[in-house]
Amino acid sequence: MEDFLNGYFLQVFVFICINIILALTVYMTLCTGQLSLGNAGFMSFGAYTSAIVTMHAGVPMPVGIFMGGLMAAFIALIIGIPTTRLRGLYLAIATLGFGEVVRVVALNLKITNGALGLSGIPSMASSLSDYASDWGLLDALRLDSQTAGQLMMCIVLLILVILIMTFWVRLEHSRIGRAFAAIKADEHAAELSGINTVYYKMMSFLFSAFFAGIAGALYAHATFFISPTDFSWHKVVDMLLYCVFGGSNVVWGAPLGAAILTIVPESLRSMAEYRDTIYGLMLVALMAFRPDGILSADVMKWFSNHHKKQNSRTEKGE
């Protein structure tokens, strides 16, 4: 137990959680058939907003994180009006361009401290451990304040991930989710069935941006340092890979892909020279053998059938 509670493992866990949220944001737009690559841009809006308001305006961290999400959603509302009318590659290129514009602007603004980045951002772990010590939790658990803070951050992030997942799964099973699925399957047919496609595409775009902003803010408070290079197009490629690797057609693909693709590079640290090669080979192999990603709709169907069978068996008392 002591071994697992070291700072390194906890740090990796924090990144897994943040990456899961980021992978989900890519999935959210894919739900309506939109490939949006602007999520690094939205992430940086969330990160900078939360960092600046907590550092300079003394806003409490949870409020700052929420404001980061809102800020990203607000920006998405502005750029979404022209971009959600685009389709396929054109949307991808336009949103990718947006992300790069945001990065270059952040490089040149005073308030973001340019290329030097913002440092000394309030740490989520230490503020959580302060709470913990106020309540006397540290003594009860016999943990030092740093480990306890990180552990609590892991728990908070895990809860957030579960909440976001639950929210999205419920949304997919609602009337809105039906509209999303129809738009993804055939936008034209969806519109002819009386679905306001622009409205629903915008909705998924806004949700995606909001959670990307939240993830960015969490990232800022987890690393206490952000610079524009953290939000380059490379970051978007990572998010997209998580989502596609795990299976971009099912909601569970995003967390699975994010977890695997965060753990693998970490576990290959010992062979630093070959790390990227192995990572690349994994991606090529997966696309060759499972082009839909690890989890696909039929895998999920198999799971649910299996589950149902077991349930009916236990009901029959077998």
Binding site: A179, D186, H188, A190, E191, L192, S193, G194, I195, A297
Partner: protein, 238 residues
């Protein structure tokens, strides 16, 4: 008049596909629009639905102009289109496809309407849990019609429902159209199969290169020598 188009000009980019179309569909009738490929029949349908915007002229439904309405709003007004090539959702089940047709409704009769559709198309009932993409062409057409009917339209637009189907299936589809008409739905039917269309229609319009060239009661149009020559194979027999 349920639907009235007046001097509608519409097209795509530089191409003008409709060069001043006027047609009207009285409530409770079956009106057919026949013509060769590229005459502008499908564009007429798309213009009514608001997918293609009319550059000039007006489209009015129940006296209300549809000019600025988007397709989903037109559906809410009470017009449903069974598009050319069917456009059913391949990765959704038959039932999900039908439910989608009722998307803008929130009354309690959606379930009973679906049962009616299953009565009309027993094949769809057997396959209600199958994916749309696994159905045959005729079944897909039935599903597309069923989906459009699920919206409870006052006016049903059908764009070449017989396209690519076996003669026996074509007969079934036309029987279904007559059935739907009997339940009080007005029908505007676009067809290349002029013979079949003229048999069930009350009134007919013949289109050629973006214009209406002949119109009249379906029985008269069927006797028109030009129509017989061009669409009904009349010249061969004489």
């Amino acid at each position: 008049m349920l639907l009235e188009m007046k001097d509608v000009v519409a097209g795509y980019g530089n191409i003008t596909a409709l060069k001043g179309i006027s047609l009207s569909v009285p409530e409770g009738s079956i009106v057919t629009l026949i013509g060769a490929n590229g005459a502008g029949k499908s564009t007429t349908m798309k213009t009514i639905m608001g997918i293609v915007k009319a550059r000039e002229g007006t489209v009015a439904f129940q006296g209300k102009e549809l000019k600025s309405e988007k397709a989903y709003q037109v559906v809410r007004e009470g017009i449903s289109l069974v598009p050319e090539g069917r456009q059913i959702l391949q990765n959704m089940t038959v039932q999900e496809n039908l439910e989608l047709g009722a998307y803008q409704r929130n009354d309690s009769q959606i379930g009973s309407d679906m049962e009616k559709i299953f009565e009309r198309f027993p094949r769809l009932k057997e396959r209600r849990r199958q994916y749309g993409g696994t159905l045959s062409g005729g079944e897909q057409q039935m599903l597309a019609i069923g989906r459009a009917v699920m919206a409870r339209p006052k006016l049903l637009l059908l764009d070449e429902p017989s396209m690519g189907l076996a003669p026996l299936v074509v007969q079934q589809i036309f029987d279904v159209i007559k059935d739907i008409h009997k339940t009080g739905t007005t029908v505007l039917l676009v067809e290349q199969n002029a013979q079949k269309a003229l048999q069930i229609a009350d009134y007919a319009y013949v289109m050629e290169t973006g214009k209406i060239v002949i119109e009249g009661p379906a029985a008269d149009v069927a006797q028109n020598p030009q129509v017989r020559a061009a669409y009904l194979g009349g010249r061969k027999s004489s």
